[in-house]
Symmetry: C2
Subunit: 178 residues, 2 copies
DNA sequence: GGAATTATCGACCAATTGGTCTATATATCG
DNA sequence: CGATATATAGACCAATTGGTCGATAATTCC
């Protein structure tokens, strides 16, 4: 997964994969079929990791606003400095392959949907607890937050400092909570 | 430019470039040096186009809130439906090459800076005109908007409808203006 | 018009791409 | 132990990669 993550699909050549898996050509093809299948497998793992992380951060038993703060803080951490430079397998894949690879399309689409649903759920719990500002509607606010964090991944490529990214995320959340 | 735009750097092979430029191999190399230089030239044009478009939308002689609305509407248009599927040369390049190509790094970084400066300027004019909500600070709000529109480009790869994207953008702007 | 220069082409090149296949080692099991 | 099945390695392959070069066509200039 790591090698696709930091290089992208096309830029990752078989030798890179062999080095990373410590397998020989024959074994790799016996185990995974081909480069594309292996990539899909890596992408699936990346997505599963991201979703389980969100399930922890936005756990319904936690305070929803704390959960959203943790969720944003996680993105801030992953998109600033050297972490930001490394980028995101999912966003890189979306930009590189979406629209040309049906398998990828499905995964990208369902990931965004799943992420948005989790954020929307947290927001609606926050609203029920009276912690949301007036006139904030949870489903559009969820779309906003999803766009924002994915945008962080893009802007993070320029390696901003954690301080400024965190301040930006805080400023956004402040427009929604009271 | 078009071919890099819709395929990305690595996925664009010489034959694609030859077809697009209607040049032969020799002529192309005589005219542009190599693939990398040609790519940089395409990227520069893409960036210049984006900045001049912003200069029109956020023209200081216009009402700043109208300008911001036009700016967001432009992104909504470019990131929904089939336009969204096509993606964005700049974001794709950031994800694919940033951190591995110094020339690209410089361009990506300065583009984000330039975009943020223009948005911040429009916001500060809006503030001076008393059209911003209380406690909105123009520089962090500008960072938020930049992240948001870049996030739109990513999420746009899943080809959302113009209606929902526009509603999302409206909902965000509503948190800032009064 | 004719010489000199420039632009254009596509055959050609080495290196690399993703992928296959056979020979050999390793493990499994009676 | 010995036979069989499995896993591994890396030589090998056709196709494609980005890039070069010499022959030819077009243009420019006197």
């Amino acid at each position: 997964m790591g090698v696709f993550w930091s290089r992208g699909y096309h830029a990752t050549a078989l030798p890179d994969l062999l080095r990373a898996t410590k397998l020989s050509r024959g074994s790799l093809y016996a185990a995974f079929g081909d480069k594309h299948s292996l990539f899909l497998r890596a992408l699936d793992r990346y997505i599963a990791d991201a979703l389980t992380r969100m399930d922890v951060e936005l756990d319904p038993r936690r305070d929803p606003v704390d959960g959203l703060r943790a969720y944003l803080a996680g993105y801030v951490d992953r998109t600033s400095g050297a972490n930001g430079r490394r980028g995101c397998l999912l966003v890189a894949t979306a930009m590189e392959l979406a629209g040309r690879d049906a398998e990828v399309d499905r995964r990208i689409g369902s990931f965004f949907k799943a992420m948005e649903a989790r954020v929307a759920d947290a927001l609606s719990r926050a609203k029920a607890a009276g912690k949301l500002a007036d006139a904030v509607e949870h489903s559009s606010a969820a779309k906003i937050l999803v766009c924002f964090v994915e945008g962080l991944r893009v802007v993070g490529k320029a390696a901003p400092t954690r301080i400024t990214s965190q301040a930006t995320a805080d400023a956004l959340l402040d427009r929604f909570i009271r």
